[in-house]
Amino acid sequence: MPPILSLDHVSKTYQSAGHRLTVLDAVSLTVEEGSTLAVVGPSGSGKTTLLGLCAGLDNATEGRIELNGVRLDTLDEDARARVRNLYIGFIFQNFQLLPTLTALENVMVPMELRGERQVWNRALELLDKVGLSERVHHYPSQLSGGEQQRVSLARAFSNKPRILFADEPTGNLDTETSARIEALLFSLNQEAGTTLIVVTHNVELAARTGRIIRLKGGRILSDERTTPDCQQPIPPRT
């Protein structure tokens, strides 16, 4: 499969109170289209920073990032916003639904931003898929945590993304709900054939992906394939 995402010697440093803090240090990796991948590591290892850079939410200090053939490091913020809208779906630990919009409207927003019309039916269809057809006109504050994350899933798939980024998607949910959300996430992903990148502490969730990248101190510690046809660890390209 051709790569959907590639990072070449990507670094991110912050300047704070006269000190230089390197959060990511010359990370290189390639992600094939349609694959699933988990990024794991201790707190402060650079997981979220890596996700932010891959998804075009932030600029790298050094290195080259290419997503679906588009060089993210050469785009300004508004152009990156278009990239996100066209190719990327997001799932967040704290759901990040727009509090003043109903479940249905939250799902419609990415499509509306693309200028699509007749988005109502597709949004209803997605909410039906995540089992919320009875709750479409409810506001986030009227939904439970699990329901909110299901809305978030429906929204993430609404713009038919090429790649889906999930930041601790079950981090705020109980075990039972987490299991249901995981199942839903992987089933929707399989159905859409979307590339999935999950940042998580959850070992079980990581194990469900085809590849696990371990980060520590801003560097890739290991990169292993977990699927039977690809058991051998891939050495990091640093």
Binding site: R84, L98, L113, G115
Partner: protein, 852 residues
């Protein structure tokens, strides 16, 4: 790359979607959004009511201009017309009326009251347009047929005199035919200063008042049957009228003059309204700042999903603009309703009856202003939306976005430019607009500086040993999301305006009172004929009053300064002299010594003319000389009742005008004017009101032509005037104060959302209701106290500046009034703060947490 490529932009979300998103986003915040713009409602109401008044007034002036002068042409002069001019004036128009007017004493024998009034002896059918409004209505016509007078209604009421009673003017008694309610061109204000008395001119000679020494104004009112050519006619005659220094009013000139005067009034009032609007805008800016902070997460999600910075910005801007427009519309409605009461409020200043009508241009202007300012002031916090990174969805960044944005300086510049432009539009003068903008800026900076200073001081000198409740209340002043700056600004500015009005009123009244304190004279008698000098002094002595002598007065006219006369001045626009120095009459005196209220500033005093061919050295008041570039050694040519007299400027004098004393622009030496026709002024001191009344009655009885002004009358006139003026200013200042209160309520309610979580947390941790209330109460007490204190201080500084530089007097602030204002503002702030806190303490913590 396909057509979906980010470098090949597709249409994207249509504009309609931005409105849809704005509508969706506002759903759960509409009441809060409305709270933000409620601050501008009163400001817009003030502007719309004043604009509407201005427009209605302009329409009425256009309609009633003829009734303002009562004729097609009014020719006014304070001396007899030349035979040529007399013939010319006689030939004008189809009907004519004459009037002579002068100040004189009116005596009401029934109650024994005397009062200086403005007498008008009338001949003819004047007014030709409008009427003399009287009670009974027919008195306006019937008084002309017999020995009767019309007397100002308020004067009759004050002295409890009635129609049918007798009024004595000079040597003649008149039956009071009616109470005068309105006459052409008269306002309530002019009636308060000089109440009017009309009587038929054929009785003037019998009163003996036509021989008065003081100026008798003559007017000729002319009516044309065909009015079309009047402007042309007057234009053609203008050079001749000007040569004789006649003041000619036509309907058109009166229209322009009245429109100009009231244009100034409405412009001044609209500036006060604009200050209220600016104050409200501070509330808008502060509220939007907090709103944007709260919406960072929402905006970050939108950016994450692909919204551009511009789209995110526009979604917020549409909401602010919509509620801004709604607030402006409500303000315009309120202003239109208030406008119905404005003519009533300003009735003493208005020369015409104003019918209030809805003014659509004023409503449009007010709404546009409201929309513009709400957007402009919201822009400062709104531009920071550009800095909200989608990364906020992954990490919480607490840094202040607005502080990072350089574009906010451009917004501040735009705001300053708007204030400057708006005030220039109102004041029609850039230099005044710059002063106004700088003044507003200085007040805002001073109050903001006070707020920032307070927050820093509290943080630096924090009283760690104080009880917890006090510490918590005090710490709220500088903790994140505090409302310290906006509350101090809004409440402080409102307090400053109200206190300044109180202080200035005090300064003006005290200035008049002080002028006769100690043993200073407090009564002036004028129009004394030379033959009446000795008997009058004897009368004064018999009443136990100090009577050392009288001051001679000669009426002269200045014809030329060096070789510049009125004609040369009119033709040469480069000459920096005031035109009136040649048109006015000067009352001059002659003496060999200076009085205690004078001091020679330049040159040398020369009190006696040597006679023969020796030059006559006169002394000129310094300010008059400075304004007209008159220097020592210049030649002044006077016309002393027909005789030309050439003099030289020997000295310039500084004169203390604010005393009940005879002071003069020009003083002649002894030996020049003794034989000129003259009258005298007598200045004395009466110890109390009863003796003043008794003496005045005796003077009017024995010397009916002599007029009396006592300080009591001056004080009461000044008091009446100030009361009328300050009522209007107070009314306008109320807009500012009420806006301050609305901003205060809005700020407190906004901070409620900020403080709610911690108050609930405190209650969850076991704090009593009373403790939570005490913490909030103390916070608002500190805020209210400091805001009021800063406001009082600013008003004191402003009033001192006015007292020192404008009124040239000592400033003694009315501390009791200041203390009352301070207490009221503190109580109001604490009251509003506590009323708001009750919402939190009276409900179970869980209920609020769930809502949140």
């Amino acid at each position: 790359m396909n057509s979906d490529s980010p470098s090949h932009p597709r249409p994207g979300a249509p504009v309609a979607w931005l409105f849809k998103m704005a509508w969706r986003e506002s759903r759960r915040n509409r009441s809060r959004l409305f709270l933000f713009v409620s601050s501008i409602i009163l400001g817009i109401a003030a502007l719309v009511s004043i604009y509407s008044l201005g427009e209605n007034l302009q329409r009425e002036v256009d309609l009633q201009a003829a009734e303002l002068i009562g004729a097609d042409i009014a020719i006014n002069s304070n001396r007899d017309l030349s035979p040529d001019m007399q013939r010319l004036v006689d030939s004008l128009g189809d009907r004519q009326s004459s009037q002579r007017s002068f100040p004189s004493m009116a005596y009401f024998p029934a109650g024994g009251h005397v009062r200086l009034v403005q007498v008008r002896a009338l001949e003819g059918e004047f007014p030709y347009y409008g009427r003399l409004q009287t009670e009974p209505a027919e008195a306006g016509a019937s008084f002309r047929n017999h020995q009767a007078a019309l007397v100002d209604k308020s004067l009759l009421e004050r002295f409890q005199a009635h129609v049918g009673d007798t009024l004595r003017l000079g040597a003649l008694g008149f039956r009071i035919e009616g109470a005068l309610i309105a006459a052409p061109g008269q306002t309530g204000l002019t009636a308060a200063v000089a109440p009017l008395v009309y009587f038929p001119m054929r009785y003037l000679a019998a009163t003996g008042l036509d021989q008065k020494g003081s100026r008798i104004g003559q007017s000729r009112f002319i009516k044309f049957d065909q009015t079309a050519d009047i402007p042309e006619l007057v234009k053609g005659l203008e050079p001749r009228f000007e040569k004789e220094l006649l003041d000619v009013d036509t309907v058109e000139s009166q229209k322009e003059q009245t429109a100009r005067s009231f244009g100034d009034l409405t412009r001044f009032l609209s500036l006060v309204g604009f200050i209220a609007l600016l104050l409200g805008c501070i509330g808008v800016a502060s509220a939007v700042h907090i709103l944007i902070r709260e919406r960072i997460a929402t905006i970050a999600v939108l950016r994450c999903l692909g919204a551009t910075a511009l789209q995110a910005f526009l979604i917020q801007l549409i909401q602010i603009a919509t509620v801004g427009l709604l607030g402006s519309a409500i303000g315009a409605g309120l202003g239109t309703a208030l406008q119905q009461g404005m003519p009533l409020l300003l009735k003493d200043f208005l020369p015409v009856q104003v019918q209030s009508r809805i003014s659509w241009p004023s409503i449009g202007q007010g709404m546009l202003t409201g929309l513009l300012v709400s957007i402009l002031f919201a822009l400062a916090p709104l531009v920071s939306i550009r800095n909200i990174s989608p990364l906020h969805t992954l990490r919480v960044d607490r840094s202040d976005l607005a502080q990072k944005d350089k574009l906010r300086w451009l917004v501040y510049l735009l705001i300053a430019a708007f204030i400057l432009g708006f005030s220039a539009l109102q004041l029609k003068a850039w230099n005044k607009a710059v002063f106004f903008t700088l003044g507003v800026g200085a007040a805002f900076l001073l109050l903001s500086g006070t707020a920032i200073g307070l927050m820093r001081a509290v943080r630096r000198f924090f009283p760690n040993a104080w009880p917890y409740v006090w510490r918590q209340g005090l710490a709220n002043l500088y903790r994140p999301n505090n409302q310290t700056a906006v509350i101090i600004l809004s409440v402080g500015l409102g307090t400053a305006l109200i206190c300044t009005i109180i202080f200035i009123r005090g300064i003006l009244l005290e200035r008049v009172s002080l002028s006769a304190s100690g043993n200073q004279p407090n009564m002036v008698l004028f129009d004394i004929r030379s033959t009446q000098r000795e008997p009058l002094l004897a009368l004064a002595r018999s009443h136990g009053l100090p009577a050392t002598g009288t001051v001679p007065i000669v009426t002269v006219r200045l014809e030329a300064v060096n070789d510049i006369d009125a004609e040369a001045l009119a033709q040469d626009s480069t000459l920096d002299m005031q035109r009136w120095i040649f048109t006015r009459e000067y009352r001059v005196t002659f003496r060999d010594t200076l009085t205690p209220t004078e001091q020679v500033a330049k040159g040398s005093w020369s009190g006696r003319w040597e006679g023969g061919k020796a030059p006559i050295y006169v002394s000129v008041e310094k300010k008059l000389a400075d304004r007209n570039h008159i220097r020592i050694g210049d030649t002044l040519t006077f016309n002393v009742q027909g005789m030309r007299l050439q003099t030289l400027v020997g000295s310039l004098r500084k004169v203390e005008w604010n005393r009940v004393q005879t002071n003069f622009f020009v003083v002649f030496p002894v030996g020049v004017l003794e034989k000129a026709p003259q009258f005298h002024v007598f200045v004395t001191r009466v110890p109390d009101a009863p003796r003043s009344a008794a003496f005045q009655q005796a003077v009017v009885r024995d010397f009916p032509n002599i007029s009396v002004i006592d300080l009591g009358l001056v004080l009461s006139v000044v008091d009446t005037l100030l009361e009328k003026i300050s009522m209007v200013i107070r009314f306008m200042a109320m807009f500012c104060l009420c806006t301050g209160i609305v901003v205060l309520i809005a700020s407190v309610m906004i901070s409620r959302y900020q403080r709610m979580r911690e108050s609930v947390l405190l209650r969850t941790l076991g704090a009593h209701r009373r403790q939570v209330l005490a913490i909030n109460g103390l916070e608002y007490l500190f805020l209210g106290g400091l805001a009021a204190f800063a406001g009082v201080l600013i008003s004191m500084a402003g009033s001192w500046t006015l007292a020192h530089f404008v009124f040239e007097t000592t400033f003694r602030p009315d501390l009791l009034a200041a203390a009352e204002a301070f207490t009221a503002v503190c109580a109001l702030t604490v009251g509003i703060g506590l009323a708001n806190s009750r919402f939190v303490v009276n409900r179970p913590p869980l209920e609020i947490l769930r809502e949140d």
